[in-house]
């Protein structure tokens, strides 16, 4: 689900849209996305329903779109934090961009649900805040 190629520990973006673009760019460069615009529309459409900034410094923008090659997560940390219209009004630091193709297999969806559940745990979040590299992120979930 995760890949070194799709991780950034120093996101440059300042705004919600910029950070989504930046994450999508990583995903696209890694060859997991065929159409950036189409997927972005799916993500923003989801954000319109209500922000995926779940508070506690975390945001999980996600989209289900036919342009996605395989289910995966693009991870990013922003040192300064980005206003993501989060539920608690605080800026988000940790971003999980979840991309799922229209016909995702259940195994992948199960992994995503597992990760989503993990994010609710304080200790997991703490480890993610302090993550410096790929290994740290993976370890946070174990």
């Amino acid at each position: 689900m995760f890949s070194k190629e799709r991780m950034s520990f120093d996101l440059k973006a300042r705004t919600k849209e910029e950070v989504i673009d930046e994450l999508i760019e990583m995903l696209y460069k890694d060859g997991k996305l065929k159409d950036k615009e189409s997927f972005k529309r799916a993500v923003l459409k989801r954000e319109d329903e209500f922000s995926t900034g779940i508070g506690m410094g975390i945001a999980i923008p996600h989209g289900k779109d036919s342009s996605v090659v395989e289910p995966c997560i693009t991870f990013g940390i922003s040192k300064n934090g980005i206003d993501f219209d989060s539920m608690d009004g605080k800026p988000a630091h940790i971003f999980f961009l979840i991309s799922v193709p229209e016909d995702a297999a259940d195994t992948h969806l199960h992994i995503l649900s597992f990760i989503s559940r993990k994010l609710m745990h304080e200790d997991v979040r703490q480890k993610l805040f302090n993550a410096k590299d790929f290994e740290d992120v993976i370890n946070a979930f174990n």
Partner: protein, 452 residues
Amino acid sequence: MKILAVTSCPTGIAHTYMAAEALQIAAKELGVDIKVETRGSVGAENEITNEDIKGAHAVILAVDTKVDEERFRGLPIIKVSVKDAIKDPKGLIEKAMAMEKKEYVDKVFEAKKESKEKITGAYKHLMTGVSYMIPFVVAGGILIALSFMFGIKAFEQKGTLAAALMDIGGGGAFSLMVPILAGFIAFSIADRPGLVPGMVGGVLAGKLGAGFLGGIIAGFAAGYVVAWLKKVIKLPKTMEGLMPVLILPFLSTLIVGLGMIYIIGGPVAAINNAMANWLKNMSGGSAITLGIILGLMMAFDMGGPVNKAAYTFAVSTLAAGQPSMIMAAVMAAGMTPPLGVALATLIAKDKFTEEEREAGKAAFFLGISFITEGAIPFAAADPFRVIPSIMVGSAVTAALSMAFKCTLAVPHGGIFVLPIPNAVGGLFLYTIAIIIGTLVTGFMIAVLKPKR
């Protein structure tokens, strides 16, 4: 106490599960038992079963999609957006814990209303008629009983209060019984135009000695005759106004009236007399057998068609204006099911949940009020143990009441009519009969119920 929750979000990828986890974490911190069903993109997981619903205190629906709420009926429901469950899971659970479970009595009346809505056809028409008739029987029965207070033959003295009471109860209220029954059966079938031929048919049934049975036939005949006339008579628009005021009442009453006098009256009066004689001369064994059958019927479906059939039959035996053994047996048998379950919750405390024990208290009050439906929630939760238990208890009670030759002059009222002098014949033994049936049901349930 257990809380149930369902989480669901539109994409079903992340929030569904985060909300579920958040609720589980919060529940753990609060020491609350929780089961969370997730309805995400992989479908429903950790699905809530009927068993779960039975033992639950409240339901939290953290959903932004449509979910089936019907299955949680009877439980208090908190409905919020999925994000609220992520934001403040603790608050939600605390709120759910504070929710009052729907009152037991409300549940009983809901079940009553529901079964009423479900019934259709001839049975519904009959029940409409019976329900309009019952208050007449109650009022008349109590007034007659009051007259008996002055002595069983006191009303024969003209000008006395006893005679006046008998006139009001017997001559007034009771004489309207069959016409009201027939009228409202027809009303149920054919609406307002049914009332006239129905009531007239009912009066004729009384005059011809066809009684209760004749009234039922008159009511149905009147209703269907009116419905048929409405269909076959086609008038020009300008004369349509004549239908409800002239044509329908006249023609339908003519047809029903002639039918009652020349066709139905005679044979039904004969049946009626035969039945009255049989009831009057019924003794020993056959009386007890009838009591057992009526008792089983009263408890079998607790207010359903079988129960109502026994009850209606019993009310018909009051029509003569004399206290009836059958009415006594039927009321007693209708009281013991809720009383019995109430007793079971007392003697087998450890076999019932705290909520069931609370519900037992409510069942007690429904029982003493002769609301047999009071046992329904218990029976629904465990039909194969509860229903046989209440049937046996009711059969015992009804058989005893018959054996003791107890009588009842009113069709309803539970223990509240017992203090009215002469409403019950054989009050002490009648009370014993009810108590024994209650004990039988209570102990049977207590023994049959498995340990929790």
